[in-house]
């Protein structure tokens, strides 16, 4: 069992829950469990079935882009965070 920590900006998609307990051996499996419990969150953070590239995913505060992405393994007690990126530019 691991925990997904929900930031304030996404809580309207989890009925206000700050954390959701999930099962799964990888980030992808944990997200599948999460989205099954909170389908509104899936609609918010995925595009065409894929996690939006504008959503940062962390395991224990470490961005999974620097690990194995959605294949990053998770262990009991790990904390996963989904966080919409803040990005833009003058062009």
């Amino acid at each position: 069992m691991s925990t997904i920590r929900i930031p304030p900006v996404l809580r309207e998609n989890t009925g206000g829950s700050r954390t959701v307990d999930v099962t799964g051996a990888t980030v992808a499996e944990a997200l599948t469990d999460l989205f099954g419990k909170h389908p509104a969150l899936r609609d918010r953070v995925t595009e065409d079935g894929e996690l939006s590239r504008f959503i940062n995913v962390y395991v224990n505060d470490r961005d999974v882009r620097y690990r194995d992405g959605l294949d990053t393994p998770i262990a009991d007690g790990d904390t996963i965070i989904l966080l919409p990126a803040m990005a833009g530019g003058s062009r």
Binding site: P8, N56, D61, P84, M86, G88, G89, S90, R91
Partner: protein, 142 residues
């Protein structure tokens, strides 16, 4: 959440925002403001690294973003505004800014550095960005 129509930033914080932006030139700078979103009042400024390190783009460094977002909440504050600078263009959200904005409840504060001597009053403007559209809102410095 019902939020204020305008944003108030303490003058000292506004000066630090502009100082941070000028210190990052020629690249765009970024950061977050914490405070009371319902009252539209900023109380803390959290400069962040621009992961793009670019004069034309910004992306709040993911490590800074997660630390600051939950730090603001742990301090009992709300995320009030997302700040970034435009090195040479006006403090108006670009098409990219509007397309990539994902925090419709927060204010977006932009600084233009086109005039190196501009005061915070003239360099900073506040916006809301939702569904790809931006609307300017009153910004008060006090």
């Amino acid at each position: 959440m019902v939020t204020a129509e305008g944003l108030t930033i303490p003058r000292e914080i506004a000066s630090r925002m502009l100082e941070h932006a000028r210190g990052e030139l020629p690249n765009e700078a970024c950061g977050l403001l914490g405070g009371d979103l319902g009252a539209g009042r900023a109380a803390s400024f959290h400069p962040a690294r621009n992961a793009e390190a670019s004069p034309l783009r910004y992306n709040v460094h993911p490590d800074d973003l997660v630390r600051i977002i939950f730090g603001i909440e742990d301090a009992g504050e709300d995320l009030v505004a997302i700040f970034h600078s435009h090195s040479a263009s006006p403090a108006v959200p670009s098409a990219t800014d509007r397309r990539t904005a994902q925090y419709p409840e927060a204010f977006y504060v932009l600084a233009t550095l086109a005039d190196a001597d501009a005061s915070p009053e003239t360099a900073l403007r506040a916006w809301r960005i939702s569904d790809g559209a931006s609307t300017e809102v009153p910004l008060a410095l006090e």
